[in-house]
Symmetry: C2
Subunit: 227 residues, 2 copies
């Protein structure tokens, strides 16, 4: 269960003036374990900011986030890093692959942090599943945009995390590759009971979620369960 | 008129082995001045590679590209840089904004290279047109994904280039902002007679083009004029 209460994020105004930008405005949300949620909304509405706070990558201005019994908003950086390593898979809007590691090595990073055996076979199989057979030894600079995106997806999925946070996971993919990713993510949700939070502009992806939350100007303006 | 003949791009295999990756395989295409063309195809099919060669950013393995009477594939780097500055607007798949310049300053760069007067008013008006009023003074790190994308679009459009090359220009945008961008780009095509080449996975955007070229494994597999 993810419990978000009165969550607010104010950035100092870009130009250095005193007024702030309220990227999130007193958000209240409860997401039951194992739910698949799509978060949609206009560009700039606060989606990536919300995901970053849930992952503990940023510090909220006020409010709280509790994941199961852990108060994310009260943890220090080391504990947050450990929590993420053990429980969260993250797909960033712009991937954040390590440029000095190959596709395979990038996917292996979370498994090595968790010291899993047979890591290489697991990573190769997952790269094949996302259609990257033949690209394992490429560095990010030798991959297309959608190939980099798929490496980022494989890296987040490989530990079968209890909570997967995905920011625009199909943004650089054609319909067919996008569907492969949808199947992979939904598969995690059903077989692993992973909680999935998918930020997306892709209405096909959103249509597969159990619930669609719409943001606008940092607020929740709609919250619909699929019937 | 863009005339592409027998264009081939082979990358050395990612892993350093001797076999190469044929990202483009003997492409022949003619694009009349003022046409609006969508280039579609699966992830990894060669779209960004093709755009990079047309822009003279990379060197083809073989074949030729002629834009009006200029043989792009025979030019040196300085001449290519000047040609791009004077005639081409480029929207990269991952934007390539300068991190140390604000949104407004990023948009101004092409105008300053061309020494235009009233540059600041033109840039501000264009940022407003893409919905970025209030974000002019933000640095790229202070912008959302779709906001950065729109800065990149404004930067490419500001010189009203004779040839605009756009790689996934709506990839990080919701429907409404995406439509604003479609209107802007089509407006350039109609009023400026700019030739537009739009690489995209967005079928809505592609549907507005005069012609849709489909790539697969580095080859043109379909080339359809809209009726
Ligand atoms: N460091 C920052 N300083 C100032 N403003 C910021 C900063 N980071 C983000 N913002 C602003 O906060 C708002 C929300 O940003 P966020 O990245 O969450 O949007 P988003 O919904 O993910 O948008 P997109 O769909 O374009 O990716 C944006 O309007 C952005 O300009
Ligand atoms: N420097 C490189 N070395 C080796 N292979 C490369 C290199 N750059 C690109 N490739 C390969 O060339 C192919 C075409 O890449 P390109 O970026 O043109 O694809 P794309 O159609 O733009 O894909 P996407 O829709 O994912 O952006 C890809 O399979 C990619 O792995
Ligand atoms: Mg975002
Ligand atoms: Mg590409």
């Amino acid at each position: 269960m993810i419990k978000i209460s009165n969550l607010t994020m104010v950035f100092k105004q870009g130009g250095g003036s005193d007024s702030g930008i309220t990227a999130l405005d007193r958000i209240d949300l409860e997401i039951p374990t194992g739910q698949c949620v799509a978060i949609v909304g206009p560009s700039g509405s606060g989606k990536s900011t919300l995901l970053g706070l849930i992952a503990g990558l940023d510090q909220a201005t006020s409010g709280s986030i509790i994941i199961d019994d852990t108060i994310i908003t009260k943890m220090n950086e080391d504990d947050l890093a450990r929590f993420r390593r053990d429980r969260i898979g993250l797909i960033f809007q712009f991937f954040h692959l390590l440029p000095t590691l190959t596709a395979l090595e990038n996917v292996l990073v979370p498994l090595e942090l968790k010291r899993e055996r047979n890591a290489t076979e697991t990573a190769s199989a997952l790269l094949k599943e996302v259609g990257l057979l033949g690209r394992e030894d490429h560095y990010p600079s030798q991959l297309s945009g959608g190939e980099m995106q798929r490496v980022a997806i494989a890296r987040a999925a490989i530990t079968r995390p209890a909570l997967l946070l995905a920011d625009e996971p199909t943004g650089n993919l054609d319909t067919e590759n996008g569907q492969r990713i949808i199947d992979l993510l939904l598969g995690l949700n059903r077989s692993q009971k992973s909680t999935l939070i998918l930020v997306t502009h892709d209405l096909t992806l959103a249509s597969h979620a159990d619930r669609i939350i719409s943001l606008k100007d940092g607020k929740v303006v709609k919250d619909e369960m699929k019937l």
